[in-house]
Every structure is written in structure tokens, then in C-alpha cells.
Amino acid sequence: MAAEVPLYAGRTAAPASDDPEAVAAWLASLPTIGKRELRRGFPKSIVRTTCDLKEAMQKGLVEIIATSGTTENRLQVLWEWSWWDPQEREAMRLNPIVRGAMAASFKEAVLTTPVCGGATCHIGTLSRAERTIDGMLFLNQAADPTHWTDAELTRMLDEWNDLGPDGVEADPQYLGALCRHAMRRGVTMHSPTFATLTYEQTTRASIRAMKAALPTMGAFNLYGATEAGVLFMECDKGRLHHNARHSHVELLDAGGGLARVVVTTLGRTWMPLLRYDIGDLVRLADGCDCGLPDEGYVLSRIEGRANDAVATPRGLFTPAMLDDIVDGADSALEQWQLQGAADGFLLHVVGSDGVQSATALAAALGTTVEPRATATILPEASGKYRMVRPQ
């Protein structure tokens, strides 16, 4: 395959045998790629020379979509339904609770970045019917959730309760905000069997809001990327299991028990990835007793974007580690963001004065952290929140 894709020209050919050790050695000999490489020359550089992209697009087999990655990491992707859907469903089925709920009459709602961004589509407000695609109801219409009005939040709650979804695909920050709105308004939310949390890092505060408003719902991380597929699914024991039939994953040691995720996609006709560094840090688990067959890596958790980790003389602090410290010191907070400053950091906190968290963080990082209480935290242009941002 490698020889047919312009981006991988010059790479050594794959070994003739399927011997795992030989394949691993071959992969390890190849360079990794990142988003920059995927952007350059797209889409021709990432399509096999033997494939006719124009024809595939005309037939609707593949389309070009933009990822909702954070500002400096956005890219366009060749979206192949015939590859995406099965691997996503298969990943979800790794969780027995999710698998059990995905019956024929399965009702699903989506609460993530909007189905269509107003900045590019200019389609105005969509009706509920227009936001229902393949049976899935897309709740959000705002590119920036900090501009959700009370009326908009109430409209989403009403639609949620009216649909009564069995499962929800949600950005954890968005769902946390909706749950808090319901709690403040005293509205009881229909409890789905499960929510798959995706799009961005799940914070403890988001989980706390979900547990308060939806105590019987199972909330499970579904980890992957639009360009790479769904790589890991959280089981009911809180471990993340590799969706091994659709991707080969390498975990490159990043020190301190952390690893970088490098993906090679399997069975993908369009946009095959060969040693793609997804840019996140994860932590490996010592296995899991949930009963799933051992088909690949098991993670204890996703640690967040490598670029957002804070390096100090005391070591590297990932976004998840920072969340442990910040939220661990103050369970009243709803959201936080750490910002670099001239002499330390500013800690923007929603829902609290941030003093306890800043004190705890300063002690852990060994630097000054000034608390800044705020009403909202601005997401990136993509609609995703960044937990750590530069000065």
C-alpha cells in the first residue's frame, strides 16, 4: 500500500509475512507523520495512485469534511462512510452497556459542535426535522456554546426529553453545561442508557454535572479522531480498550508512564494512515477484568493533548493531571483553563473563585498561579475547549 500513496513514497515496503514482530519492526523503522503532513498536498498526496478520487466523490463514496480539531491543528479529511460507520459501531460494542442498548429501535441524540457551522453554511436556524440525520438528532446549533441563551438551552432540553434518547454522543463540556442548566432550572432530564464522550478531554467537573443530572446514565469515553477513526472505547470498568480490527496502534514511550499514540489504519481505502502521531498522551493500564477479549492495548486514561501538557522542573503535567489537581482542590468549579503568564500562570475558573485550586496548582507546579474567577471560558474557533493555552 505504502508505495501507492504519494505521501509514503520512499518508505520501505511492508514485510511479506504477517508476523507481528516483523510488522512491528517494519513500522518502527518508518518515520511518523502529523497533521502538517496530512494537510500538505491534500487530497492527492493521501490517495492511492490506483484510486480515482473524482469518481468516488461523484458516486458519493467519499466526501471531504473538516475536522473540528483545535485552531492550529485543523485539517480536512476524506470521509468514507463505508469505513467509518462499521469501525465506530464496533468500537462502541466493546462496552457491554452500550452494546446492550444499541437495539433496532435505538434512539440517539448528538450534542457536539453543530451539524453545520453558521460561519460557512449560512443556513439559518434549522428545524428539528432538518437536524435529524439518519435517525440521529443533532441538538446544538451554536458554533460557540458560551453564546447559548437560556432559551436555546431550554430548547435543547425540551428536544432531549421529547426524543428520550437511548444513547447520546456528546462533547463532555457541552453535556456538562446542559446538565447544569437542567439542574439550575429544576428540570428532570430523561436519562439515556449511555453517553459516549468524545471530541475533547473529559473533565471531572463535566462528569460531576452528568452524575448530578443523569445519575443512572453510563458515561464512557470514546477516543479517536476524525482522521484516524475510533481507537479506544471505555468499558464499564473505566478502562479504554483498543478497537483493534480497524487500526494498529503503537504507544511510544513519553516518560513518566505516559505514551504518545501512533496510528496505522487498517482496511481503509481512502486516506490510509501510516504511523500517524495523533498528538495525544495516554497512560497504559495493567489490563482489565471486564471480560473483553485481549485484542490490544488497554489504557487507564487519556491524558490530553501533548501540546497542552505543562513541563516543569518537577516533571510533565498533562491536562488530565492538572484536572486532578484543580478539581481535586475545589469540587464547586464547573470549568477551568490554565493560561501562561509572564511569571507563572493564570487559572481561569467558572463556578468558583478559584483560590483553592490555584493554591493547589501552585504547590504542585512550583510556580505562581493567579486565580481568575470568570463567567465563561472561550472555546477555540472549532468550538472545542482548550484546557491549557499559551500566554
Partner: protein, 396 residues
């Protein structure tokens, strides 16, 4: 000990005719710290794209930086970003409300006679103005508010801090009185926002306005805070690009607030600079700035009042109810107050305002043909005030 903020302001290191400048005109406009200049430059050198439209990285960076400024403004005054409308200046904020409320000539707007023209003219054009009197020192007779309210009153408005006297108004009391009568209140925070901590939730005001350039930010950007529920009462006023979600021949759909009030390409670099300015004052701590301002204000009043024949406006107001802004009339034969201001600049490098400070009615009422205004800020110190007082003492 040298003032620790002064070095942050490149402008303050320049001279006039070989003399170092003593800048005492912050009520007119504030100098800009390096952080603000850098933020504006960074927009031009690293982003440079339009906002809310871009699908490329520069457009997204511009949008993020612009919206981050909106969040900074909201955080500074305890509002939500949805409640912050960017305008060209405080004047435009008043005009937006004056037009947006759909006032008629029978509607009454109540405010002190001492208000700046920006908080006077918009109401004069759209409605009937009802003035609260001022005393001989130009301080409003605040207790008159109740008797000025009628069933026709549509709005009460006042300056949080007077741009002429530097006196802090009892806005909380006025808001309580007006709200008890079912009347919304607009606050002009132009002179207070950089001197005092402001929390719109505690004030419970309905509208609040200020200009970026009065809080160390660039010119050409203003802020209008609108309490969330008050947007329903504000009609569209300036329409065009950027404020619609959909525009077809059959219908159009406007965007949510605040964007529906921000038609056209905004002053992107100005807003980003304002965001940096807010970061600057927050780092300096608003409480500390307030203390410093009150101390310099007291020094100004005391020192200027001691000058022979000086008439200092609002001198009777306690020092904890004023900021570092003091206006006076100094009797010097055959010289106007503007002449004195010019002389201070030319002979001493001391920069103050001389004239009417966009408050003609105030000056008419207290029968003064112009005044001299000195306004200090966080980069000034006691020596600056002493320099001014010494120069004026020599003059008289």
C-alpha cells in the same frame, strides 16, 4: 521609589521641547502600555484576517483573539460575554441604546445636568430630557431623582464617575430608586472602569458603557453591556454584514445578541488591544489601582484647593468618593483656563486638559468659562502632582 508602572508606557518616556512629560490627562485618554501595543502589532503581523468568516487558520486565530477580548471585558465587569456588544466608543453605545429603545419625543430620560455630551445629546435628539440639578461645585443633587421620575420616564442614566469633578456617584441608590419605579438604568463607566472595580451584577444596572481608550486600550472601540433580558427591548439599529444567519429574498434571520448589534467588520485590532489592556489592569489589581487613585485624588484636591483664588469642583466630597481627577478654575488675569493648560505644557511639560471637557451645560450652570482638569492614573505618583501644584503656584 519610582512608580513601577511608568516604564510600561513608551509614550511617557518622550519629551516635549527637551522636557520630560508629566502626563496628567488620562481622563481625556490614557497612554497605552507596551502589552497593548504588542497585542495590536501581533494582530497585524500574525493574524490579520477578518473575524467570524474565516475558514483558514488566520481567520480562526483572529476570531479567537477577538472573542477572547469580549470574554476579558465580561470578566472585568462581572458580565457574561453574551451581554457585551463592541461599539466604536461609549458615545456610540449611548446612541445604540437611544435608538434601540425606540424613544419618542414624549418619552422622558432623566440624568444629571453635569453629564458628558455623549450621555446627553443622544437623549436630547430622541426624547425629552429631564435634568437633575447640580450644586455650585457641579455635583448632582442626587436626592432629586425620585421627584424627577414620572410615568413617562423611559430611562435613567448617569456617569459612575464624573468626567469633570471625579466624584463617584451613588449609582446603586439610583438604580434601586429607578427600578422601584420600573425604570431601567444606564451607567456611563467611561471614567470609572479603569479606576474602580465594577460588578454589573452587584450594581444591577441594565446598560453600561465605556470606551477602550479610557482603560489603556486603543481608540475606536467601545463597550456596551446589556443585561441579558434587556436585549428584548433593543431594536436593531445598524444593519449589514455579519449580523444575519440567513439572508434570502424571501426572509432574513438575524444572529443572536450581541452579534446582531455588530454589523460590518469591527475594529478587530482595537478589540484585541482592549483585551490586552484589561489583562494589564487586572494584573495590576483593580483594588490597588483604586487605592492609588483615591490617594492621588485627595492630594490633587488638597494641593489645588490651597492655591490662591482656586475654585476646585466637588472639593467638599470625601476622598473615598472620588478618583484621581480634579477640575478647577484658577483666576489668572487675561488668561483662559485653556491658556493655562497650554502654558503648563509649554513651560513645564505638564499635560492637562483646559476647556469645557464636553460638559457645556455643567459649565453654564456653575457660570464658569472653562476649567482646568488634571487626571492621574496608575503610572503617576505624588511627585507628578507636586510638580503640577508647584507650577501653578508659580503662575499665580
Amino acid at each position: 521609589m519610582p512608580n513601577k508602572f511608568k516604564a510600561d508606557f513608551p509614550l511617557l518616556s518622550r519629551d516635549v521641547d527637551g522636557m520630560p512629560i508629566t502626563y496628567l490627562d488620562s481622563a481625556s485618554t490614557t497612554p497605552k502600555p507596551r502589552a497593548v501595543i504588542d497585542a495590536v502589532t501581533r494582530y497585524y503581523t500574525e493574524m490579520g484576517a477578518n473575524v467570524h468568516r474565516g475558514v483558514h487558520p488566520l481567520g480562526e486565530s483572529s476570531t479567537t483573539a477577538y472573542e477572547r477580548a469580549r470574554h476579558a471585558v465580561a470578566a472585568l465587569i462581572g458580565a457574561s460575554p453574551q451581554e457585551i456588544v463592541f461599539t466604536r466608543n461609549a458615545t456610540e453605545s449611548f446612541n445604540l441604546v437611544a435608538q434601540g429603545l425606540g424613544l419618542s419625543s414624549d418619552d422622558e430620560v432623566v440624568f444629571p445636568a453635569s453629564e458628558h455630551h455623549s450621555n446627553y445629546m443622544p437623549w436630547r435628539l430622541k426624547a425629552k430630557t429631564v435634568l437633575v440639578d447640580i450644586d455650585d461645585e457641579a455635583v448632582p443633587r442626587y436626592q432629586q431623582l425620585k421627584e424627577r421620575l414620572t410615568p413617562r420616564t423611559r430611562l435613567v442614566t448617569l456617569a459612575h464617575v464624573s468626567n469633570v469633578t471625579g466624584v463617584v456617584a451613588p449609582v446603586e441608590e439610583w438604580i434601586a430608586i429607578a427600578h422601584a419605579a420600573g425604570v431601567p438604568v444606564m451607567v456611563d463607566a467611561s471614567q470609572s472602569v479603569s479606576h474602580l472595580p465594577i460588578d454589573v451584577r452587584k450594581l444591577d444596572c441594565d446598560f453600561l458603557a465605556f470606551s477602550s481608550h479610557k482603560i489603556f486600550g486603543p481608540s475606536g472601540v467601545g463597550v456596551l453591556y446589556v443585561r441579558k433580558d434587556r436585549f428584548e427591548t433593543l431594536q436593531l439599529w445598524n444593519v449589514g454584514g455579519g449580523m444575519v444567519n440567513y439572508h434570502g429574498e424571501d426572509r432574513y434571520e438575524v444572529r443572536e445578541a450581541p452579534f446582531r448589534y455588530e454589523a460590518g467588520t469591527p475594529n478587530i485590532e482595537g478589540a484585541i488591544g482592549l483585551g490586552a489592556a484589561i489583562e494589564y489592569v487586572r494584573a495590576a489589581k483593580m483594588d490597588d489601582i483604586g487605592k492609588h487613585s483615591r490617594a492621588l485624588g485627595a492630594q490633587l484636591v488638597e494641593g489645588l484647593s490651597a492655591l490662591p483664588g482656586a475654585r476646585v469642583l466637588g472639593a467638599h466630597v470625601p476622598s473615598d468618593k472620588r478618583v484621581a481627577l480634579c477640575t478647577m478654575s484658577l483666576p489668572v488675569p487675561s488668561m483662559t483656563q485653556a491658556n493655562i493648560a497650554r502654558l503648563l505644557a509649554d513651560s513645564h511639560g505638564i499635560l492637562v486638559s483646559g476647556g469645557f471637557h464636553c460638559a457645556h451645560i455643567l459649565h453654564h450652570r456653575i457660570q464658569l468659562d472653562g476649567t482646568l482638569r488634571a487626571s492621574a492614573h496608575l503610572f503617576n505618583d505624588e511627585e507628578d502632582i507636586e510638580r503640577l501644584i508647584g507650577a501653578l503656584r508659580d503662575l499665580v
